[in-house]
């Protein structure tokens, strides 16, 4: 399969690979996918006091497109507010990486990972407030 240069670049040099402390109240963790489907993505975001995302990390088990999609997402979310991040759609990812049609699900999974990370963060904040 011919991958775009951008996918290859993210695959060869993935950005922001790593782990944030999942127990930190300012960190949201989203894990989506399933081993049986061939992709598991874990995205973590950390919000600063100004409400903007100051750090993001990922680890992904999956094909080159899945790795590239999650790597790209960590770059896209940094510096954004949660509202701005929620507005990121799979199309933004798939267009940026020029994903072939059979790999669109990788960008959908990345969008799901963002949503899951935000949901985790919000539930932590609600728990803290109550």
């Amino acid at each position: 399969m011919a991958y775009s240069d951008k996918v290859l670049d993210h695959y060869e040099n993935p950005r922001n690979v790593g782990v944030l402390d999942k127990d930190d109240p300012s960190v949201g963790t989203g894990m989506v996918g399933a081993p049986a489907c061939g992709d598991v993505m874990r995205l973590q975001i950390k919000v600063g006091d100004d409400g903007r995302i100051e750090d993001a990390k990922f680890k992904t088990y999956g094909c080159g497109s899945a790795i590239a999609s999650s790597s790209l997402v960590t770059e896209m979310v940094k510096g954004k507010t949660l509202e701005e991040v929620e507005a990121i759609k799979n199309k933004d990812i798939s267009e940026e990486l020029a994903l072939p049609p059979v790999k669109i699900h990788c960008s959908v999974l990345a969008e799901d990972a963002i949503a899951a990370a935000i949901a985790d963060l919000k539930s932590k904040q609600t728990a803290k407030a109550s």
């Binding site: 991958y3 695959y11 993935p14 690979v17 782990v19 894990m31 989506v32 996918g33 399933a34 081993p35 049986a36 489907c37 061939g38 992709d39 598991v40 993505m41 874990r42 680890k59 992904t60 088990y61 999956g62 094909c63 080159g64 790795i67 699900h105 999974l109 799901d112």
Partner: protein, 407 residues
């Protein structure tokens, strides 16, 4: 200075390049200056010369098998031989019985032929191999019934390289009066064959996995006791009626020469390939969570089939683009077909792993093996560093016990 040619070919079980010595002989049978005659032409020297070459080649194939040249039938390849052997014997013996025994790890040419016979009303038993890929002899014996006419077991498995105990299987078939067919496409030059000692009745062969050309194969058909077949291709009555069609002199000469070389150089080549295979295995064996598929002792020297846990197949292949290998997954993966052979070994419980078949051959070098070792180590470490599943494994979480949201 590096003499490496990238990509490195490590897929010798898929096919081999034609040996230069073979190509030269084949080239002599094509043009006006060469031996282009029809071997079936009885009335002139063009035909006689071509026939002589065909018979010389037949002798080379027979010698490798320990057979009589009159027991060798030319076909288009092992797939056709499998079809002719299994359908031919099943059809001919239909009145005696309509039951066939084979194994789940056989090549598709055998399995699909059996499926076709099932559609025609035959009954087929597909045996599970042991975890190491070998057939359980007791289970095999128990599967043979009074109405069983044919048993088909491959010699060397194409994916995992394990060698079945033909002598033991053949003895059981002979005792039970069942025709014993063996797909030996992967064997020539890798493991010794003696059809009499092994009690083989029918044996499928091809040239292109032994440094001969594609498009030519043979079927060994035992004469004493005589094995009878119903022909599948009808026409001019070539090959004593077993397989009609003008003989392809250049292909046959190529197969004969390839088998002559395979027979002569087997011991030396196996010793060299064993060393290379061990070098490859030694190089990567310190990686955690890797599994060798198939028995390592009862195995041809050039084959190594390894599963890498917590590494996704497609990304692994992307990282290994400098080497030509065959891949599959030990289980279900979104992007790679699961291998039915590995599944039959009972490795289906492995949720997240991918397998690679490395097959070395006549032109493999130490330098190529060393390059491959480095490439695999780097790729596997990199992908595991990227993998949340590897983290979970390291934390002691069993990923089979996690409830995944299937999408």
């Amino acid at each position: 200075m590096s003499s490496l040619n990238i990509p490195i070919y490590m897929d010798y079980s898929a096919t081999t390049p034609v040996d230069e010595r073979v190509a030269k002989k084949m080239g002599e049978c094509l043009t006006q200056q060469g031996y282009f005659g029809n071997p079936a032409s009885r009335s002139h020297s063009f035909g006689w010369q071509a026939e002589e070459l065909v018979e010389e080649a037949r002798q080379h194939v027979a010698t490798l098998l320990g057979a009589d040249p009159r027991e060798i039938i030319w076909t288009s390849g092992a797939t056709e031989s499998d079809n002719l052997a299994i359908k031919g014997a099943a059809h001919f013996n239909k009145k005696k019985g309509q039951h066939i025994v084979t194994v789940k790890t056989e090549h598709k040419a055998v399995l699909d032929t059996c499926r076709q016979l099932e559609r025609e009303g035959f009954e087929v038993t597909y045996l599970d191999p042991l975890e190491n890929g070998l057939v359980d002899l007791d289970q095999f014996r128990a599967a043979l019934r009074d109405d069983t006419t044919v048993a088909s077991v491959m010699h060397v498995n194409n994916e995992i390289g394990v060698i079945q105990d033909l002598k033991a299987l053949g003895a059981i078939c002979r005792e039970k009066g069942v025709i014993f067919h063996v797909d030996a496409a992967q064997s020539p030059g890798k493991v010794a064959i003696d059809v009499d000692d092994m009690n083989v009745d029918l044996m499928s062969l091809c040239a292109h996995k032994a440094y001969g050309p594609k498009g030519i194969g043979a079927l060994y058909v035992r004469r004493k006791p005589r094995v009878r077949l119903e022909a599948q291709i009808h026409g001019g009555g070539h090959e004593r009626g077993f397989r009609s069609g003008t003989l392809a002199t250049h292909q046959i000469v190529g197969m004969g020469e390839a088998f002559r070389i395979a027979h002569e150089e087997m011991a030396e080549e196996n010793a060299r390939l064993s060393k290379l295979r061990d070098r490859l295995l030694d190089g990567i064996k310190d990686l955690e969570e890797i599994y060798i598929n198939g028995d390592l002792e009862q195995r041809v020297p050039g084959n190594l089939n390894i599963s890498f846990s917590y590494v996704e197949g497609e990304s692994l292949i992307m990282s290994l683009k400098d080497i030509a290998v065959s891949s599959g997954s030990a289980c279900t993966s979104a992007s790679l077909e699961p291998s039915y052979v590995l599944r039959a070994l009972g490795r289906a419980d492995e949720l997240a792993s991918s397998s690679i078949r490395f097959t070395l051959g006549r032109y493999s070098t130490e330098e190529e093996v060393d390059y491959t070792v480095n490439l695999i180590k780097n790729a596997v470490s990199k992908l595991r560093d990227l993998s949340p599943l590897w983290d979970m494994y390291k934390e002691g979480i069993d990923i089979d016990s996690v409830e995944w949201a299937h999408h």
